[in-house]
Amino acid sequence: MSLFLRMLDRLGVGIVLLLLGVLLAFQTEYFLTWKNLSNILTQTSVTMIMAVGMTFVITTAEIDLSIGSLLALCAMVSGMLLEAGHSIVISVGAGILTGMVSGLIAGGIVVTWGLPSFIVTLGLLYIDRGIALLLTDAKPLYGFPEGFTMIAKGSLIGLPFPALEAMAAVVLGQVVLSKTAFGRKVVAAGGNPVAARLSGVSVGKIKMGVFLLSGLCAGVASIITIARQDSATPIVGEGQELDVIAAVIIGGTSLFGGRGTVVGTLFGALLMGVLRNGLTLLDIASVWQKIVIGCVIVVAVLLDYYRRKLT
């Protein structure tokens, strides 16, 4: 491939995003306002953080369907502790720990028995949601301390905290994926597990690691969710795993494993966020969002297919 094509390949979704932004700026006066842009960042932050973890999972050619339910479970755990008067640090920590434990369980079962993660995490999707409903007998919790809701309501130099937290997750994720031994092993384990094993990579441990990471991200995302809503309900996050997977795929991470980009995922999540926001600003019925996003996903997977054939 020529350098030009390679650059296009790298920046593809980014360019689409940019052009879409330009188009929207001409269509509606509200789009290109600082407030609207920071809204889009806030609205996509939860999806984005979970998508960072999902990028790792998909890069190893696995999938994690449980994160939407896990988001609710972590939210309820943190919410209960906050309501019981525990400190913010303990409540937040417990929520994130819950996510990590669920991730470890998923990874443990997948690796130990060599089962498809699709099925295992599908099971966890039900289990986590069930426990979330069970914890408070399905009642929502609300009225958290001011210091806690600042996690979502605060802002620094005009940037809302959730946006900053999501950006931090993306930067951290990309550095881990491309600059550390763990990241390179993730790519190796997904691209060619046999070769990876032969060259001394413990594929099992790596897979445990990515599921742990995915659970951790769900935990962090749950904190932002409940701080933003100033309440925790067990029905939150239903179906959100699909948004997250879509963001990762549109971003250019290969469903077949061995190729992942966290920055691409960022663009994927933003593309969906901008589409949603733009269509609302233009008073277009929400069903169109689905059709457009669906087309983008299919095109992204087709591209991935031909990219694999080329290399």
Partner: protein, 355 residues
Amino acid sequence: MEMCKPEIATSQTVADSGLLLAMTDRGLRFLSQVIGRAGFILGIILFCGIVLCGFSNEADAKSYRIALVMKAVTNPFFHAMEQGAKTEAEKLGVTLLPASVERETDIDKQIGLVEDFIVKQVDAIVIAPASSQGLVPVLKLAQSEGIYVVNIDNPLDKDATKQQGFACPFVGSDNQLGSSIATYALVARMGAVGEIAMLEGIPGVTNAELRKAGFLSVIEHVPGIKLVASQTANWETEQAFNVTSNILTAHPNLRGLFCANDNMALGAIAALEAAGKTGEVAVTAYDNLEAAQQAILQGKMFATIEQHPELMGAYGVRIAKDHLDSKPVEDYTRTPLDLIDYQYLVKVMGITGKP
């Protein structure tokens, strides 16, 4: 040896098609190399452009812009609400901007809708909140930006609003009263004796909890009535079918069933039919959907509650307009409740059903 001949014959065709395949493949590779990404980008932009240009409509700059935020596109209840609001908006000469999330559980997306309307600087937001607690912070934000907020249908949680220091007028029916009326009619129909069950809405949602409370408040005063099961079917027809089937298996002597909405009642009726118990178990529900009316006319269902969603939408818009015109408004507007049974349908509404 015998099998060789046909194989030779086909191998030539295979070679041909192989060549063809290889050519197609090379062509596709070439295509994807040259116009792969560029084509992708152009395609998306073109598509979005068509969609956006085709649908964008400039609002009348002079009239008030009032957003109507609803919570489930598939529920006829919200169609009626939107229709009522639209008619009223036309009458008052304001621009209505309706928007809805897909499912009642899309809390985060509904918050996003409100944020988008804040950016659009609408004059008022009329909202049926997906969560009685979760929407409070963003609505407070909207109010602080000078947007007038009217809460319709599902009331915001009193404690949550008090904690946040938020207040706005409410338009809706008294859900607890409505379900008490429905339950009272059901109990009367049962002759005040026998086993009764309830299908609940999504647990924790205010409307669902109020309807459950209304149901319980009636049956606890009737000694002859025995509550044998109360389970959620999450407002959904299909889940209601399964839950009802299970309840019937466990309690074959069931005589009455109260469903917290008509969607669930439709599933329950189907389950009764499958069990051959149509007419043996009296069913009452909530919402007065057309399908429920048909079921009542066919004798499969006893009664339902009409809570006039079209009036919720219309009153919501009117209150917003009144406030924007600096007229005083009521804090709490109750929409009327009607018990719809066979007599009501035939005599009052003049509906006789499909032949």
